[in-house]
């Protein structure tokens, strides 16, 4: 097909673009592979920036407005780079009832950042999740991809300290 011969060149020699391209190719560079492609970008680079959005748009032959529209519609996608460490606090109902807000308050008190923000030294980002489905272990937080449950604000603070301080 023509799609292959006019393949869009990757923005740089970074090998991670190959991973993104693999996913787009698996979906035949069709428009319905857009969300999967954005997942691939975020998994490889940590976030979606202008360069990657333009690359995906060109490769799937979609107007940039469509791609930007999808990238901003879904909460899972982030357009900002994250800090070295991330702490996701689940704000599902069970976690909320069991004091997730106290954990967020504690983080704000300790690091001066609110959900969606990153510390000035780029060490820690704090995020919230709608529900990570670990309601049986509420309140739950995910620190650097590892989930821990039944935490108090103090225990969470200790956990974060151990990760960031190291």
């Amino acid at each position: 097909m023509a799609a292959d011969s006019s393949k869009i060149a990757a923005p740089s020699a970074d090998k991670r673009w190959r991973l993104v391209d693999n996913v787009m190719r698996r979906h035949g560079y069709r428009a319905d592979g857009l969300i999967e492609s954005l997942h691939a970008v975020q998994e490889s680079f940590g976030y979606l920036d202008d360069v990657s959005l333009r690359f995906v748009a060109a490769s799937l032959r979609l107007p940039p407005s469509k791609v930007y529209g999808v990238a901003t519609f879904y909460h899972f996608f982030t357009l900002k780079p994250q800090g070295e460490h991330t702490c996701v606090v689940c704000l599902g109902t069970a976690c909320y009832i069991k004091g997730a807000q106290k954990i967020l308050d504690r983080i704000e008190q300790d690091y001066g950042i609110k959900p969606g923000e990153t510390t000035p030294d780029n060490k820690l980002s704090v995020l919230t999740a709608r529900c990570i489905g670990s309601c049986g272990l509420a309140p739950a937080v995910v620190i650097d991809g590892t989930m821990s449950g039944k935490l108090t604000a103090d225990e969470t603070a200790e956990h974060i300290c151990r990760c960031v301080g190291a």
Partner: protein, 548 residues
């Protein structure tokens, strides 16, 4: 793969398990993994290896249910359940095999939590290794598919589902058989099956557990649906927040393809069925079927008016059958045991069982499956073990942001679609959050409204603007700055949003407010007129501050 080959697998498995004297089943669902269940599994394996024990198998299984006490290890054939196991306990557990169980770790299986449940959807959960096709087959997996493909016509399959009285487990409770019939009758050369695993309700994790514990069951259900309605392609739409479920599902699809249970010419018949996984990206509205379809097509998940219903014009304009994960998981046992058998369980209008994610202020948090018609009191106080720390029960929330808060006076009400609707809530997908006196009901209503406000897709005005206004009003009630006029306005807005929104998200978003107003109006009034929060949750400004 043909029925004989399935039997051969079963026989081989039976033979292999005859050599196993003892089995250590370690829960490998996300809950137990997060409390280091994987380390327990490794430690047990190492211990068994170092003692050179013969006939002892250590394996990972799906959810064992009692998430609150994880990591869990079930020892068979003794049928002893160990709770809160740590890697250091491995030596003691292995040493105790065949003898007296390790007392300090034992969790009684004689409690109502285990005794009062009835397993259909979760029949294999905790019994099989979700990463092995052979385990599923040995537990009569794919038997229904093989039998239907070789012995029954598609209309017979639809008729069986109709006879079962199964209703959609995603929340609304539309009769599944009718939906299948509509898609089967719809004209068109191409049809699709979509499995809705976009479990967006905060406080619900049934779909996650089913996909993590028994992924092949969902695939079998989808293939049966494909055969019944004449579709050859299916999508499973799963939340990206569930990486373990996605991994196990992808693994299951590969295994089924390799075994010829998915793909072309299944069971040597003309039936072809392929399944693809599509990742969600965190949008609650994608649980709505037309929004979900938009998302599978790679677009923003915005719903559209119905009709036409997806059964007539769905994915890429083709007739599409959308069912929830739990609905599909019910299909193989219905085909195996018959619709009549299924219809014999539950109540007159709600058949079968329902899986609930029991969480919040209740002793035994975890995943449970109960027959329809059981009372809320039985679920919360018998199975759930009541409220911890001797506190008092206040309300139970079902149906997530689209549902309502049910007070104590209805605890003896049977749990079924119609009874829950009567008190202003919904069955929903199965999240059940218990609240005690430490929860402020206005704050809870505000929490859900905040959720709906951010999750509103923005397409229709009542939902986009209405949820924001309702959230503002609830915030000022919580802050103690609202007047009785504000309350009247809130009630009017609830009506407007409920009756004029485009899709289910907006239409049901006032439910948490309406039910709390109905049953806990005194709490609203306390905030407005007395400027105090009875539960002590809200940060109410003093009167002087308000007037300043």
């Amino acid at each position: 793969m043909i029925p004989d080959e399935l039997k051969a697998i079963t026989d081989a498995e039976t033979e292999a398990s005859a050599k196993v004297r003892c089995r250590l089943n370690v829960c490998m669902a996300a809950g137990c993994q997060s409390c280091h269940g994987d380390k327990v599994l490794k430690a047990l394996q190492a211990e068994v290896a170092s003692r050179k024990l013969e006939g002892v198998e250590v394996r990972g299984v799906g959810c064992l249910g009692l998430c609150a006490e994880g990591p869990l290890v079930l020892v068979d054939p003794e049928h002893v359940l160990y709770q809160r196991v740590q890697a250091e306990d491995a030596a003691d557990i292995v040493a105790a095999l065949g003898g007296k169980p390790v007392k300090r770790l034992v969790c009684s299986l004689e409690t109502p939590f285990f005794k009062r449940q009835k397993f259909i959807v979760l029949e294999n959960s905790g019994k099989i290794n979700p990463e092995r096709l052979e385990d599923y087959v040995a537990h009569r997996g794919y038997e229904a598919l093989a039998t239907c493909l070789t012995e029954r016509q598609p209309p017979e399959v639809v008729a069986e589902v109709l006879a079962s009285g199964l209703r959609g487990r995603g929340g609304a409770g539309f009769p599944t058989g009718l939906k299948w019939q509509m898609v089967a009758k719809a004209a068109g050369p191409k049809k699709y099956i979509i499995c809705n695993g976009d479990e967006g309700d905060p406080g619900a994790f049934m779909d996650r557990s089913v996909l993590e514990s028994d992924p092949h069951r969902v695939l079998e259900g989808m293939a049966l649906a494909g055969y019944a309605v004449g579709a050859d392609h299916g999508y499973v739409y799963v939340r990206a927040e569930y990486p373990l479920a996605v991994k196990r599902l992808n693994n299951a699809i590969k295994q089924a393809q390799k075994a010829g249970l998915l793909g072309p010419s299944i069971c040597d018949t003309a039936f072809t069925f392929n399944v693809e996984v599509r990742l969600g990206a965190g949008a609650f509205v994608c649980g709505e079927e037309t929004a979900l379809i938009a998302s599978v097509e790679g677009r923003r998940g915005q719903p559209r008016p119905r009709p036409p219903f997806p059964a007539e014009a769905g994915l890429w304009g083709c007739p599409t059958l959308i069912n929830n994960v739990e609905t599909f998981a019910n299909i193989p046992p219905i085909m195996r045991e018959g619709g009549k058998w299924f219809a014999g369980i539950g109540t007159e209008k709600s058949k079968g069982t329902k899986v609930f994610a029991l969480a919040g202020r209740v002793c035994n948090t975890g995943l449970i499956e109960v027959p329809m018609g059981i009372t809320l009191r039985e679920i919360i106080f018998d199975i759930g073990g009541g409220i911890p720390e001797g506190r008092k029960f206040k309300a139970v929330q079902t149906g997530g942001p689209s549902g309502g808060c049910i007070p104590e006076q209805f605890l003896d009400m049977p749990v079924d679609y119609d009874s829950l609707a009567k008190v202003g809530s919904i069955m929903g997908s199965g999240g059940m959050i218990v609240m005690d006196e430490s929860s402020c009901m206005v704050d809870v209503a505000k929490f859900f409204m905040e959720f709906c406000r951010t999750e509103s897709c923005g397409k229709c005005v009542p939902c986009r603007v209405g949820t924001a206004q309702m959230h503002n009003l609830l915030s000022s009630i919580c802050a103690g700055t609202a007047t009785m006029d504000d309350l009247a306005l809130l009630e009017r807005l609830c009506d407007t949003v409920k009756f004029t929104s485009l899709c289910g998200l907006g239409q049901s978003s006032p439910n948490p407010v309406l039910t709390t107003l109905r049953y806990f109006r005194h709490e609203y009034l306390a905030h407005i007129t007395d400027k105090r929060c009875p539960a002590g949750v809200c940060n109410i400004h003093s009167l002087a501050e308000v007037h300043a």
